[in-house]
Amino acid sequence: MHAAGLFEQQLEVSRNEHLKVQGSVDTNLYYVVQGSLRVYVIDEWEEHTIRFGYQGSFITALDSFITEAPSEYYIQAIKKTELRVIDKNAFNQFMKTPEHSKLWHQLWELLVVQQLERERDLLTSSPLERYHRVLQRSPRLFQEIPNKYIASYLRMTPETLSRIKKS
């Protein structure tokens, strides 16, 4: 997307810093120029990683982006990260034109399919099987993200993950 005025603001987040925390409203969409981030929630003191943002991809607190209400998601930089901030209103304006609305439609379809894949992951009881599903789908995850966060995404302990990787 090369829309003038869409990426108005730049943002730098240091390693481990939080871009968004539980309880806040965040209707921005972020484009990752450099670095990586994760979206997670906390349930009974345990952090569950939900999604990752890599260089060249978008990340957002999707529920807040859609509803404009407070969301329980945390967004944290895994390493030093450079972002472009896209305001929701500017984004909507951009997507209104016929050619872009087709793109928007495709993006939503892609997102729904991704969510279905993710739902299937979570319903997979074998840790080994979960690992293989995700490895096949996004090899990039294993190249760019530290093990402890991958383990959290795969719903297993870091020990189990390293055992699986060795075997």
Binding site: S14, R15, N16, E17, H18, K20, V21, Q22, G23, S24, V25, I42, W45, P70, E72
Partner: protein
């Protein structure tokens, strides 16, 4: 004093996000930097953080208890109490603030501290954020909490939340000054 509740909660959450980020920044520092102090009476970074942990240990469960015991529906405008307003003003960081005395129980000078002190404080900030998130649907005027320094008064939950967040901010800023003066010396 009446305060619109949603902007207030948003501000307390944003301040807590900044406090959380400051703590992650402290975690990147060496043990020497974390324990360094300008003189015997001033606090090191870890002492500032330990001071917050001691307050958190009291106020986090107290705020949680107060929320659980309230059945009144949430309000649009939070009414700050006279005492609450006084303590919030007293603690809120500002330029040229006065030094305050610390209660003995809350004074971290000379206690055993490590990087675990920072981890505890990070956990406490996330616990605080969970409570602030729940505050969206809680009546912050009707819910009341106890305070650490006397049994004679109770504060409105909204005032306690303001007090806790600004008190955190006050000592995070103090710790940042300690770090700046360490960097200046080193």
């Amino acid at each position: 004093m009446k305060i619109a509740k949603e902007p207030l909660i948003a501000e307390l959450i944003e301040t807590t996000r900044q406090n959380l980020n400051a703590l992650t920044h402290f975690k990147e520092q060496t043990a020497t930097a974390l324990n360094w102090k300008a003189n015997a009476e001033s606090w090191s970074i870890l002492e500032c953080v330990e001071h917050l942990n001691r307050y958190g240990k009291f106020y986090l469960p107290e705020m949680e208890r107060s929320m659980k015991n309230t059945t009144v529906p949430g309000e649009v405008m939070f009414s700050s109490g006279v005492l609450g307003e006084y303590f919030v003003k007293l603690i809120r960081p500002r330029e040229q603030q006065k030094k305050m005395k610390t209660l003995k129980d809350m004074n971290p000078l000379g206690s055993e501290l490590s990087v675990k002190t920072l981890d505890r404080c990070l956990m406490q900030q996330k616990e605080l954020l969970r409570l602030l998130d729940e505050a969206h649907d809680t009546n912050l005027t009707k819910a009341k909490t106890a305070v650490t320094f006397t049994r004679l008064i109770r504060l409105r939950l909204g005032d306690t939340m303001r007090f806790v967040v600004y008190h955190n901010q006050r000592h995070i800023l103090q710790a940042q000054r300690a770090l700046a003066s360490y960097v200046g010396v080193g």
